[in-house]
């Protein structure tokens, strides 16, 4: 089945787009909205009272303009309100996210991937319990058991700035860079600044955290904590 995008779906498309942006850490959140293509792999149930559509056998949501695709074993979405998915992967030309559960709040413009998230793109391969993305803050957080192979790191939390490319590891953390293995204790922070070189993306590390970046992370974290309480 194929549907043509309708105006109420504009917010959903934006969220999907921003989710992909979070994954790729580039600012294509403000990109234009194009057609959204929905493909159901099987049964599709529509609740007329609530306007909630459930793709019970899974399906695909593709944003035509950017090529961002949400593929999941189970998808439910309410136009203009939310999208939830299970065993989902978000794929774009700049990144790939996999998570057992994905929830997109279309009103608050926030995405939560949980249950063990894997995220990869050039210069970045990371896993964690939860991925949190706040569109307004432009900050992605990975929380709980964060492990990264690119860059080699582990932390309790990792926060990624979409626009600036800054990363904050929250300790206890470990960060490996060549012959160095850096470890910080509980609550300690390490800032990584992504830098594009001829050999690819490299990171400069510093235990001195930029004030504005520290404040941005604090705001995003507070928002995540509030959302979690809900």
């Amino acid at each position: 089945m194929q549907r043509t995008a309708h105006p109420p779906r504009a917010r959903l498309r934006t969220i999907l787009l921003l989710a992909a942006l979070a994954a790729t850490a580039v600012g294509w959140a403000q990109g234009g909205i194009a057609d959204l293509e929905v493909t159901a792999y099987g049964r599709q149930r529509i609740d007329l009272a609530s306007g909630r559509t459930v793709l019970e056998d899974g399906g695909e949501l593709i944003e035509r303009g950017s090529g961002v695709t949400l593929v999941a074993a189970w998808i439910a979405y309410a136009e203009g309100i939310e999208v939830t998915a299970r065993e989902a992967s978000i794929e774009g030309d700049v990144g790939h996210i996999e998570a057992p559960r994905v929830a997109i709040d279309l009103i608050a413009e926030r995405l939560t991937a949980s249950g063990g998230v894997a995220w990869r793109r050039e210069g970045l391969r990371v896993t964690g319990e939860t991925l949190w993305f706040d569109v307004d803050a432009g900050v992605v957080g990975l929380l709980g058991g964060v492990e990264a192979s690119e860059p080699g790191a582990s932390a309790v939390e990792a926060w990624i700035e979409l626009a600036g490319g800054r990363v904050l590891l929250v300790g206890p953390y470990a960060y490996a860079d060549g012959p160095l293995v850096l470890r910080g204790g509980e609550g300690a922070g390490l800032q990584l600044d992504a830098r594009q070189t001829d050999e690819g993306v490299v990171y400069d590390a510093s235990t001195a955290i930029d004030d504005d970046w520290r404040a941005a992370v604090a705001t995003a974290r507070a928002a995540w904590a509030a959302a979690s309480d809900e």
Binding site: G185, A188, Y203
Partner: protein, 669 residues
């Protein structure tokens, strides 16, 4: 960091870190993570803790800051600095820092600059501190694999020495120096009028001891080459004086003797000599005794014993060669001439075997058997007649070592032998049994022993050669050191079971019963020593030849002051029992750099006995204090202790101060 700053660091270390290290036995503590800081592991180097870090991948370096502490894993050294740069993150890690403190073993090194890679660390503008020494060096290289410290242009001071060297290697408490000059003067070697210069030297800071190679003693413009190598104690330089003693001839023949008891003069060679002072009945004479012993790897042995005196001579030597399976062949010769009571000329050939083995018998750990057969051609002058003849004989000895039980360790020796005299006279045979037991428990030690020897027949030769007498005696010896203070009690007793020729029906009985007790401890701001001894055999069984006396010594000493009393009483004496009541004292007198310490001992009992010689002891000790140390020269004679000479140099300890070292000239003289 300026040199002044290095010094300030080092002095601070000397006052703080260094003293703390001395208190806890030295060594550096590891790096303690900074609160809220981070920890960095550098492959191939070690671990670092710090407050802050930033890396720059374009410049390929990392900057650590804030209480940076690096532990070098291979050597256990610790580097401390406020900032440290790590470069070569991609390949070949290197460290660089300024104003560093490097702690390695007992050494704490403060330096202006440090550069290090996986192999070593180079430090520039260096001050070193250990509990035993301080030093300055133009540069130091620490081997990060072996932990040795190589320094150049080193100036080092210990409590007693000032040293300069072109190169030095510091390995823990040992310092190897190249092209070195040193002095005990409280000044730099270049300024010292008396110093030692050497091609190389090893300095043990803890013992402390110095060994010089290619050394010269320099006094002003004069130089004397010293033997190579030459070692000396860096705390005391005792001159090699022979231990001269004054004593009575044990044989009672030569009267009072002055000489040196047996001393080693070369490997395997011992020498003793004395001079008889003579008196109205005896002319002065001299005596010398030389013994030499050598052994080879095959078990062969040679021994020479020479006694030369004004009126007699003895040369005795013996060589032994091992044969197969424990057998040995020996030849010995003994030649005596002059005023010996029974001079001997003897040629002796023997073959013997020694065998030892563990035994399966309960309570017996080991058994050993010695057996020997001999033939000898002997001449001996007895009562003016010369007896010449051959001797054929053999002996056998079994030793059984018991298993220790309950603190006791028993052992037993059984021996037998027989000698035939073909030239005349009956054979002589003997059997002996000697059980012995030793108890050792806590501070108590007891030795119980017995010897019985039965003899059949008699040698026609004298007792100085091989004539044996029957023996039946028991010995008891003991010592007890209670766990209180420094007290010690000893006991020695002997009982002779043979019939007493002078007292029919009775045994010879108690031959010796000696008791002594001593202790010492702090008293009246000084040290008090007390000793009491008693020879009671003559009291329990008063007979001619039995000793009977009770005496004691009390000594109080503080600094160079010494006061004491010594008394001796003969309880068996028929009249005046005091054989000695001596008071003695030594007191220091200091004038400028000179110290005098006269000693006098006066026997108050001598007046009562009507003897003219009331002073029984005298002495004088002289000390001259110079920049190079304290020269000691003195003697003490006392009837109770004999003669003691003292010649040597003491090196007075000075505080370890880097600032004083820095004020000296760096160059070698």
């Amino acid at each position: 960091m300026t040199r002044r700053t290095v010094l300030a660091w080092a002095v601070w270390l000397a006052c703080g870190t260094g003293l703390a290290m001395a208190a806890d036995g030295g060594g550096s503590e590891g790096c303690v993570p900074v609160a809220g800081g981070a920890e960095l592991t550098v492959e191939g180097l070690g671990r670092a803790v710090f407050a802050g870090l930033s890396t720059d991948r374009v410049r390929d370096e990392a900057l650590l800051s804030g209480g940076v502490c690096v532990e070098f894993s291979a050597i256990g050294g610790v580097l401390r600095s406020e900032r440290l740069t790590i470069s070569g993150l991609g390949d070949g890690v290197a460290l660089a820092a300024a104003d560093v403190v490097f702690e390695l073993d007992a050494w704490t090194i403060a330096a202006e600059l440090l550069e290090a890679d996986e192999d070593g660390a180079v430090l520039v503008g260096v001050g070193l501190q250990s509990p035993e020494a301080v030093a300055l060096a133009a540069g130091v290289r620490v081997d990060l694999v072996s932990g040795t410290i190589a320094a150049r242009d080193l100036r080092l001071a210990t409590a007693t020495l000032w040293v300069v060297a072109d190169e030095a290697t510091l390995d823990g408490e040992r310092v190897a120096l190249q092209r070195v000059a040193l002095t005990t003067c409280d000044c730099a070697p270049a300024e010292a009028s008396v110093r030692l210069e050497a091609r190389a030297a090893e300095l043990d800071l803890v013992v402390p001891e110095v060994t010089l190679h290619g050394a010269e003693l320099v006094v002003g413009a004069l130089r004397w080459a010293l033997r190579d190598p030459w070692s000396f104690d860096a705390a005391n330089l005792a001159l090699p004086l022979p231990p001269i003693a004054v004593f009575e001839d044990p044989d009672g023949r030569r009267g009072t003797l002055v000489g040196v008891t047996e001393q080693p003069v070369a490997p395997g060679v011992r020498l003793a000599w004395d001079v008889g002072l003579g008196d109205d009945a005896r002319p002065p004479d001299a005596s010398l005794r030389l013994t030499a012993r050598a052994a080879d790897a095959d078990g062969g042995e040679a021994r020479v014993d020479v006694v030369g005196a004004s009126d007699r001579m003895r040369v005795a030597w013996r060589v032994a060669r091992p044969l197969a399976e424990g057998w040995a062949l020996a030849y010995a010769q003994r030649l005596e001439g002059g005023a010996w009571d029974e001079p001997v000329r003897d040629q002796h050939v023997s073959v013997g075997r020694t065998r030892a083995w563990p035994t399966p018998v309960a309570g017996v750990a080991e058994a050993a058997v010695d057996a020997e057969a001999f033939v000898a051609l002997t001449a001996q002058t007895l009562a003016g007649d010369e007896l010449v003849g051959t001797r054929l004989g053999g002996s056998w000895r079994l030793r059984l070592g018991g298993e220790p039980a309950g603190g006791w360790r028993p052992d037993l020796e059984v021996a037998a032998g027989a000698t035939a005299y073909p030239a005349g006279g009956g054979p002589q045979a003997w059997v002996s049994v000697a059980p012995r037991a030793t108890l050792t428990t806590g501070g108590l030690r007891l030795d119980l022993g017995h010897l019985s020897r039965w003899v059949w027949g008699a040698s026609p030769f004298g007792a100085s050669l091989d004539r044996l007498a029957t023996v039946h005696r028991s010995d008891l010896g003991g010592s007890w050191a209670p766990a209180v203070g420094e007290a010690r009690v000893t006991l020695a007793a002997r009982w002779d079971w043979r019939p007493d020729a002078d007292r029919p029906g009775r045994a010879v009985g108690l031959e010796r019963l000696d008791l002594s007790a001593s202790t010492s401890g702090a008293a009246w701001s000084g040290r008090l020593s007390v000793r009491v001894d008693a020879a009671l055999a003559g009291v329990v069984d008063p007979r001619p030849g039995r000793t009977a006396s009770v005496g004691g010594v009390v000594t109080w000493a503080r600094d160079d002051w010494e006061l004491g009393a010594r008394v001796r009483v003969d309880p068996a004496a028929p009249a005046w029992p005091w054989s000695e009541a001596t008071v003695f004292a030594a007191a220091p007198v200091t004038t400028g750099d000179w110290s005098w310490r006269p000693y006098l001992a006066v026997d108050l009992a001598s007046w009562a006995r009507g003897q003219a010689r009331w002073w029984v002891g005298h002495g004088l000790e002289l000390a001259w204090r110079s920049d190079f140390g304290v020269l000691d020269l003195g003697y003490r004679y006392d009837d109770g202790i004999g003669l003691r000479l003292d010649v040597g140099v003491r090196f007075e300890s000075r505080p370890l101060e880097l600032e004083r070292l820095a004020a000296t000239r760096q160059e070698r003289p």
